[in-house]
């Protein structure tokens, strides 16, 4: 699965730490999600999309291998 969290963050101009605070996780969790090392739960994905005011599938997208 790939995602555009990093890009969305840049658009909204917030840091990983800001986003982490907003949704109540650690900064390293945001970091591993952005580098595609960790697939977040649905709850977390929904929280992230809520922060950016977009639908989940606009931020997270399936890849061929999934």
């Amino acid at each position: 699965m790939k995602n555009t969290v990093r890009i969305e963050r840049a658009i909204k101009n917030i840091t990983q730490a800001d986003l982490a605070d907003l949704i109540g996780v650690s900064r390293q969790t945001i970091n591993t999600i952005e580098s595609n090392k960790y697939v977040p739960s649905t709850v977390l994905a929904l929280k992230i999309s809520k922060v950016f005011g977009k639908a989940v599938n606009e931020i997270f997208e399936l890849e061929d291998g999934d």
Binding site: R27, Y38, S41
Partner: protein, 301 residues
Amino acid sequence: MKGRFLFPHYCRWIGLLLAIPGFVLGYFNVYHEFFFKQLTFNEEQLQVVFGCGNLTDEIALALVVCGLMLIAFAKEKIEDELTARLRLDALYWAILINYLGFLLFEIVFFILAKADVYYHDSNLKVDGINSDYGIYNFFTPLLIFIFRFNYLLHYKKGNLVSPALRYLNYYPYRKIGEKGTWICLILIALLTWDVKFPTPIDVYIVLCYPLLFMFLLMWVYSRNPEEDELTMHFRLESMQLAVYVNCALLLIANFAFYGFDFLAVMLINLVSIPLFFVIRFTYVSNKAYWQARNEMKGGII
């Protein structure tokens, strides 16, 4: 997040083929003194590594441990996020029950031994600690895991209420766990290198190891300062790897140390799961932390 580091599905059947003969052989070896005469070796034949004696019990143990490993960590036919979640749950309980059981056994055994009731009747006398439980402890974590995992998967199917796993608070339990573990490890190292302490040796054996396990358990079962689903993911992986490392060490120690010091094998077995867990868990948690930090320094917001 799907489960990682798993064996292919068919390994479950290979596991059964290994474990069942292993248990039968082990049972007859321990309780009926059965052994294969061909497997008796003296020191010259085995030279340095193996020590001397009969290898029947080692083979039984190796069969049981390998078999249970394959059964426990073979993939399900359909491997998904739920099975990964259930594995964490089962590992959590397997390790917790195993070590609490061990601590309880140690306390009861110690009291009984002091009262001179139990010790002389024991089938499996080993100098000092552990005794019978030490033998079973080689495979109890795997057994508890297999039972718990299959119970959740097959009997709770459909109405699975995902029970939240409870952890102790970071403060003060993690701190106590960390400091206690270090103190116990240093004490044990000093005693292993023959630093003379004024206390009699069995006081240290009776106190140091159970205390070490207690502190390690506190460390394993306490929260990180920041806890979220990624931490849980790290926990699962680390616990699973800890069980792998434990089994590998056990198989090596099983053959390498026999006749030399069976107690050493049992201690390695007991300590390796929680010890490897805390090392690996601390490592991956910190690695993620530093990576996040370095990226911020590198100018990527």
